[in-house]
């Protein structure tokens, strides 16, 4: 035993065994790497790189700096509170003329408008006249539009000129970066994102809870029935899974709308009057009902697979030891299903938190979730930077919750099947 510590073990040909082993292991690792290489390249090119590029938009915005280089340079040393100088006005006029020629003035105007509303028309109209202006440009500009004397417009430009900015993240969290770099809360009526995020978490949690309450008994039934019957029932559970999500959501509209099947039945059985039909859809309730239905299989399947692995002898043993049905369930059966509950809950929650199409169709005003807002900024307001910031915030929230879950429950306790 002792000589193994003093001398390295040699392979048959005299080289140290460790070196031989390392070489053999390297070959195997290389083989494994080559096997996944095509997929890795595919993912990098079409998935990871675009996402990284897009997320970088959340803090990187060089539109103003590229299109208005003179103004950006003139504003670089400005402290944001003193009166703008003639040199700065001159730089602005030069850039306005240039952007009008390259037809990028619209983009620049939109960009500054995000920092200072009303700036868009100011920029576009002044750019038209900029070529005819003569020095001194300060008086000339203020003469065309009085607003050019307003220091807030300049503060907006200063904010837009920052290439690397936390302005979009501040916006995503209902804050706003002032010209001097400080962060303050948005005015009351513009604080929507945090509320939206909280509502998103709340809806996801509720959906997770309802899925658990509805899914647990079903999974139990499936796991305890004889195989032939449970296979049939399993198809019923999976059937909605195989149907297009759009079809299912549309079906819920037919079911739940005020002239829909459910309300007709309520009226027919006298539960409610014809004039006072329940509003079950185009609100938060609609989102909850439709999402719970759609995400239910995500809860049932992990629960089922865990429950299927619990032999009936455990509950029998508990009963033979004197436990009532309830005690046997609560103290012996339920604790063993915790891995399934954990897996199902985290699956449903994470899918729910990014849910988009169902709330968009049945959510109405108060059933909208953060993904719907990201979509709005992607396709309507075209503020991709804010969309990227909101997406990143969502990602961070999910990862944080996942981390907390790992610390509290333990990912090892999760069992997907």
């Amino acid at each position: 035993m002792s000589d193994t510590h003093t001398a390295a073990v040699m392979a048959a040909d005299g080289t140290p065994l460790k070196a031989r082993l390392a070489r053999a292991m390297f070959r195997r690792k290389l083989d494994a790497f080559l096997l996944v290489l095509p997929l890795l390249v595919f993912l990098m090119v079409f998935f990871l790189a675009p996402i990284a590029w897009f997320l970088s938009k959340g803090f990187h915005d060089d539109l103003f700096a590229t299109e208005m280089p003179n103004t950006t340079a003139a504003l670089a040393d400005w402290d944001g509170s003193t009166e703008p100088t003639e040199a700065q006005y001159a730089a602005l006029v030069t850039d306005l003329i240039a952007t009008r020629k390259t037809k990028t003035i619209g983009k620049v105007a939109t960009r500054v408008n995000r920092e200072h509303s009303g700036a868009r028309s100011l920029f576009t109209s002044s750019a038209r006249k900029a070529a005819k202006l003569d020095a001194p440009f300060k008086e000339a500009l203020i003469k065309t539009k009085k607003a050019w004397g307003d220091i807030a417009v300049w503060q907006g430009m200063k904010a837009a000129s920052r290439t690397y900015t936390i302005g979009y993240y501040a916006n995503a969290l209902d804050r706003r970066q002032l010209a001097d770099g400080s962060i303050v809360a948005q005015p009351e009526q513009r604080q929507i994102h945090v509320k939206l995020l909280i509502r998103t978490l709340e809806i996801s949690l509720q959906v997770t809870l309802y899925c658990l309450l509805l899914g647990y008994p079903i999974a139990y039934l499936l796991a305890t029935l004889p195989n032939r019957t449970s296979n049939l029932l399993m198809i019923l559970v999976l059937l909605p899974f195989w149907t297009s999500i759009l079809v299912r959501t549309t079906a819920w509209i037919a079911m739940l709308q005020s002239q829909g099947v459910l309300n007709d039945l309520f009226v027919f059985f006298g539960v409610t009057a014809d004039e006072a039909r329940f509003s079950l859809i185009y609100n938060k309730l609609g989102t909850l009902i439709a999402m719970t239905h759609i995400l239910l299989p995500f809860m049932v399947l992990p629960l089922y697979s865990v429950m299927k692995g619990i032999p009936p002898s455990y509950v029998r043993a508990a009963k033979s030891l004197g436990a009532t049905n309830w005690t046997a369930f609560w103290r012996v059966y339920a604790p063993q299903t915790v891995p399934g509950i954990g897996a199902g809950a985290i699956l449903v929650f994470i899918v729910a938190i990014g849910y988009y199409i169902t709330p968009a169709l049945v959510g109405g005003q108060d059933g909208q979730m953060i993904s719907n807002f990201i979509d709005f900024h992607m396709r309507r307001s075209l503020n991709w930077n804010l969309a990227a910031a909101l997406g990143t915030v969502l990602l961070v929230v999910v990862l944080t919750l996942y981390w907390i879950y790992d610390r509290v429950v333990g990912i090892d306790n999760m069992k997907l099947g």
């Binding site: 029998r316 508990a318 009963k319 033979s320 030891l321 004197g322 009532t324 063993q336």
Partner: protein
Amino acid sequence: MTSGQNGDTFVEFERVQKSYDGEVLVVKDLNLSIGKGEFLTMLGPSGSGKTTCLMMLAGFETATHGDIRLGGREINNIPPHKRGIGMVFQNYALFPHMSVNENLAFPLQVRGLSKSETESKVKRALDMVQMGEFGNRRPAQLSGGQQQRIAVARALVFDPELVLMDEPLGALDKQLREQMQYEIKHIHENLGVTVVYVTHDQSEALTMSDRIAVFNDGVIQQLADPETLYERPENSFCAQFIGENNKLGGKIVGIDGDTATVEFDDGATCKALAVNCGGVGERSLLSIRPERVAIGNSDTPDAISARVLELIYLGDHIRCRMDVHGHNEFIVKVPNAAGHARLNVGETVHLTWEREDCRALDLI
């Protein structure tokens, strides 16, 4: 049916029938009395109804017909948790999310015992199975044999009068199984608890039991102590199922008292003890244990001639396969004792046995 060894019946099955599908009876008209303190084994091949009987006794299955009584009380309608019967399961069924101590404390907690009483009982039960130091382990951290001990301790910790064991040693290797057989037997002797044990392993049944009920096809074929069961099987099923057995088929040509004369298909005859055979003219199976056959001389009265087909050397004995009047699976165990007969393949020898050891039984 006779009741248990010391006379007072503790568990009683009376005309119990069980069917799962309403077409086939898994248990057909079962009558069985188990005495207090008895170790009774239900032995049989799989599907013979033995486990169903145990589950009916435990309360996990209900009898389709008939009564089951425990200590004179009908228990058909008493739920399992109120029966107070300890049970050891085939896969041990130790709760994986609880430590050994918590597993043992479980039956005491649900009975509302005080904390100190629970602790002392748990400790006593663990000491009984020599597992006192393993209280804080989880079941997954124990070996199969250790889990088995804990399962036995858990079934006994709340002092039940009756303990059921459903093939508890099935998952253990041979050596450990034999050791556990003795331990369970000793625990039974020390505590005086009534045990109903289910197994398909006949040597396990012979080792441990006071009495064995041999099940086949939902019916008890024979209920007797191990010695009687082995030495005097009452039908061909018991003779075949327990221990090694030679069977010789033939036709009964004469019955004189309890002696039957049987004629083999080649015309040779042989005398046997008439146990469970029909009258003259009917066919019967003769059953002889291999170790009861001796190799004799041609001048021994009633000797049967046989031809040696195969010899297998097994150390303490030599296993000899012979052709006896057209039956070529006849086994004789020749003890490897000083001066034993030398046999050669192809040679013709003469076999003798006591008349009582050759039992004329029914056809299977």
